[in-house]
Amino acid sequence: MAASSSGYSRMFFKLRKYANKSQSLYHTDSFNVVIRTIWTSGSKTQLQPKVHTKSLPQMVGVVGLEIHAQIQSTSKLFSGSHVRFLAPPNSLVSHFDASLPGTLPVLNRRCVEAAVLTGLALNCTINRKSLFDRKHYFYADMPAGYQITQQRVPIAVNGMLVYSYFEGRRRNQVVTKSVKIKQIQLEQDSGKSLHDDERSQTLIDLNRAGVGLMELVMEPEMCCGEEAAAAVRELQLILQALGTCQANMAEGQLRVDANVSVHRPGEPLGVRTEVKNINSVRHLAKAIDYEIQRQMEVLQSAGKVLNETRAFDSKSGNTIPMRDKEGLQDYRFMPEPNLPPLFVYESEASVPAGVDPAQVVVIDRLSGQLPELPSVKRTRLVETYGILQEHSFTLVNEDGLIDYFENVVQTTKAEPRKVIGWVIKELMGNLNSQNLNVSQSPISPCALAELISLVESGHISSSTAKQVFQEMWKAPEKTVGQIVKEQDLWMINDKEELQKICKRIVDSHPEEVQIIRGGNKKVLNKLMGEVQRETKGRTDPVQIRAILEKMVS
């Protein structure tokens, strides 16, 4: 179900709409502005709630997810209206979306293909024949009084999602797990209600009404927020790779509800609550861990967990009960009579005579279109470039980072293992601190490659290079050469000059020289540091050590 519950009982508005005017209907000034948040790595704090009791086994959390993924398509699931985020209210509403009597649903093949692609990527069985049903409930942002969904026979079933996260003190041990996907069903999204408390009225925007959704149901096989977050993160990457969903939680393209319960292993599952209103992966982990902890505490104090819907409050980090829709809903499911069964064919050869293969969904054709999935990508990166597994995760997680990395590798002779350090530490460090995407990086892959090449060829030292990198970031219009020249950062390779500098340092540090000569070789490092300071890091430490050793011996 797509509509979120609301506690507002007063609703006052009139939507007078004779649909030829529906292109510029009820406008409103109030508008949700959502700031895009970028989530980069696994949650840093491991919130594994542990409640110890003397004799019984520990209680553990059980987490299942219900995910609504908005299908990335140009038009809606059953109508020709366009799909666009942040369009003026009610500017994308067809006669069907407004449920004008006499209008009929016409299935969008693109949405079916998206669901089949997603099903294939998640190792599902694609049902050759699936059915549509009506799910009835009155809600102001669902104009027909029912939602068309796939309750009886969904398009895809019995899949599996493999996901990984990191454990250990340095969070560099990869743990790989899997969760079963019970089903993927196609259904309509609802519109949006905007409640105006002051004037006690509700405004309705039907732009989203009828947009295609894939509802993915994950079995309750996860145990904590971190697992759920990792599973959702992996799902996001898969959907984005497929191009079937943009999967941005903040924009509502991916809506995740968590079913949470606690029990002692071996015992039946506990009473579950459904946690809604989660709009980032980080919040998902927080909400689940909070809820597990809360339920454990309720049970510890001999209380009872209620089967209820709770909302996550991102400010407090708590979950709070939502005022439920009045009582228990009976959705009065019924087959959708206006849509014939949805047939999907194995191959072009299995399309029956008289049916145009170009007009139907053929699985073979879609499997051929499957892109490289994130897990395969990571393995390839590790094998091809010899990089660490944890680095392959970072590369895949960041949109465009693989391309960037491979670009640099191809343009420089440096080892990929050296390049990855630059990409992960310097580039990502700078991007993250300024909240930028890879595509917004002021330093192009070429420029970075040039910089790394200068280090490799001994023209600048690696410590200088880091300095140059920051200069390049600030002044992207300058070439690497320009910066190095302007700041006089070229490596000092002239033997005589190096001898002079070293002599100066040795002469001005007689005490240290004395100690070294006395046998404490460690103090040589201090002299080396002095040389580096004097030359602003423009010398090769190996060379300097050799010269200094000679001088003090």
């Binding site: 609703m11 004008l100 009597p101 009929l104 009835h136 009155f138 102001a140 009084g145 029912y146 019924m334």
Partner: protein
């Protein structure tokens, strides 16, 4: 002129014996003269005359299309024409688009003269309980009927049947050469039979439902009402075929340009289903049924009794399925997007409830209540699923019969001729629907084509029609047999209409 068939009047237009404008004017005048029938909700005089003038100017250039006046049941959406569907819920509602079938007629140059009366949301068999009042059967105003009546024409008149009563009355009263109805359980054939016109319910899916305000999506079919079988075939040819806006439509089988004038009835096998000897079947209708069966036999057709064992359960199952879809389809009427909206705004739910209560009549409300009851999780298996299973068995019955070599089935269309209004309203809508739809709704359950053809007048001077049922997508063959029957039997009714204008004394 108004009594002509489409074929005849098309020829007259081509020959220049009459202009589209003149023809349109005549029809509008006829509608005005017969206002007391209450057949029309909206008369589209202005747009009709404009359209007819355009047709005339095109006709003069030689490339023009025909300007046949037609009317449409008010549950078909038409752009910029108010479509209340005989309900307070949609009073003032102006759809922004044309129903596909209406558009196809307009594309042929047909001229819309008005939208016809019905029962609220087409729920009922009488055309007696819409917000615009009951429709009167034109045959109540013939000398044949009036001579037998001692009462005032305003108190003693017959119903048209329903729910497409206005469309049937429009064709019978010569206000239109053709009218569109809709047929969910017999809503086109029932009034067609009671008003003495040809009424075709095509195979489910052959005609688009886009723009038809739904009653039961899985059974609704636009219906065609004309004064001859030939005309019905002509209209079917125009309207049939796949529509991308209705996913349940099918490709039409290829059809010749016209029905064959001569065909050998000896090649045809006519089935007489014994279960249609139902209680309440009138003497007149029964006599007519057996007379026509004999007629087929004497002409050399094979006539044999057949059995449709599950038909007896059809009406009950029809009501369950009908109520379920009604409950669902009516959920959209919440007063928000369009239609009536209550002034009560203490809460959203209160607004929904009062909006719906204020304008839905008791028939609609009862069906919604029953439907929601049948669809409850705890009842679903017991009612909806059972009814669906029975529906399959009913469809199987028909298939089995056709598999034995039967080409068409011959049955009565209704139990009797049209009831007097004052008698009809003694029973409630539910009872009447169960009685009136008994011969017609099994065909909707199975999605088959069926046509009613007037074959005689009862002793009260009211028409009696017989129904022919065909196989899926064999509409053309069905009409071919129907035309043969018409040539043999009902030509005399038409001749009365056309030649003996005295019987229409209240019309002229």
């Amino acid at each position: 002129m108004l009594g002509l068939s489409i074929r005849e009047v098309s020829q007259a237009l081509r020959d220049g014996r009459v202009s589209a404008t003149e023809l349109c004017r005549k029809c509008i005048n006829q509608i005005q003269r017969t206002r007391y029938l209450n057949a029309f909700i909206t008369i589209t005089e202005e747009t009709a005359m404009e359209q007819a003038q355009r047709t005339d100017s095109r006709l003069r250039t030689g490339k023009g299309k025909k300007g046949i006046p037609f009317s449409v049941k008010d549950n078909f959406c038409m752009e910029n024409i108010e479509t209340p569907c005989a309900s307070g819920m949609l009073k003032g509602y102006v759809p922004p688009f044309n129903a596909t079938v209406v558009q196809k007629l307009l594309d042929q140059g047909a001229v819309l003269v008005g939208k016809t009366n019905l029962v609220e949301f087409a729920m009922g068999a009488g055309s007696t309980d819409g917000v615009f009042g009951p429709v009167r059967n034109p045959w109540s105003y013939t000398s044949l009927y009036r001579e037998q009546s001692t009462e005032d024409p305003d108190s003693d008149w017959a119903i048209t049947g329903g729910s497409s009563g206005g469309s049937a009355a429009a064709v019978a009263s010569l206000s239109s050469f053709l009218a569109l109805g809709s047929d969910t359980g017999g809503s086109t054939r029932n009034p067609g039979s009671l008003c003495g016109v040809v009424a075709l319910k095509p195979t489910y899916g052959l005609l688009s439902r886009h723009g038809l305000i739904p009653l039961v999506n899985s059974m609704d079919v636009p219906g065609i009402m004309t004064r001859s079988v030939h005309d019905a075939a002509t209209v079917l040819r125009i309207l049939q075929g796949r529509d991308e806006r209705d996913s349940t439509t099918v490709q039409a089988p290829s059809t010749p340009p016209r029905l064959p004038e001569h065909f050998d009835i000896r090649d045809i096998c006519v089935g007489i289903p014994k279960e249609y000897h139902a209680p309440g079947l009138s003497k007149d209708t029964l006599a007519q049924w057996s007379r026509v069966a004999d007629m087929f036999e004497q002409a050399g057709a094979r006539v044999q009794e057949v059995s449709l064992p599950h038909t007896q359960h059809s009406i009950v199952c029809y009501h369950v399925l009908c109520c379920c879809e009604v409950a669902s389809n009516m959920a959209r009427f919440d007063g928000l997007e369009y239609g009536h909206c209550s002034k009560v705004d203490s809460s959203t739910d209160a607004m929904y409830a009062t909006t719906r209560h204020e304008v839905f009549n008791s028939v609609v409300r009862r069906r919604i209540l029953s439907g929601n009851y049948f669809l409850l999780k705890s009842n679903y298996e017991r009612y909806f699923v059972k009814a669906q299973q029975m529906r399959r068995l009913i469809a199987e019955d028909f298939k089995n019969v056709f598999r034995t070599g039967i080409d068409v089935l011959l049955t009565p269309t209704t139990l009797s001729d049209a009831a007097r209004y004052s008698d009809f309203i003694q029973e409630d809508n539910r009872t009447r629907s169960a009685q009136e739809d008994v011969f017609t709704q099994p065909v909707n359950m199975a999605g088959l084509p069926a046509v009613t053809v007037p074959t005689a007048l009862s002793h009260r001077g009211l028409p009696i029609g017989l129904q022919l049922i065909g196989q899926t997508l064999q509409d053309w063959k069905l009409l071919t047999v129907a035309q043969w029957m018409e040539q043999k039997k009902s030509a005399f009714i038409r001749s009365k209409v056309q030649q003996n204008s005295k019987i229409w004394k209240y019309f002229y």
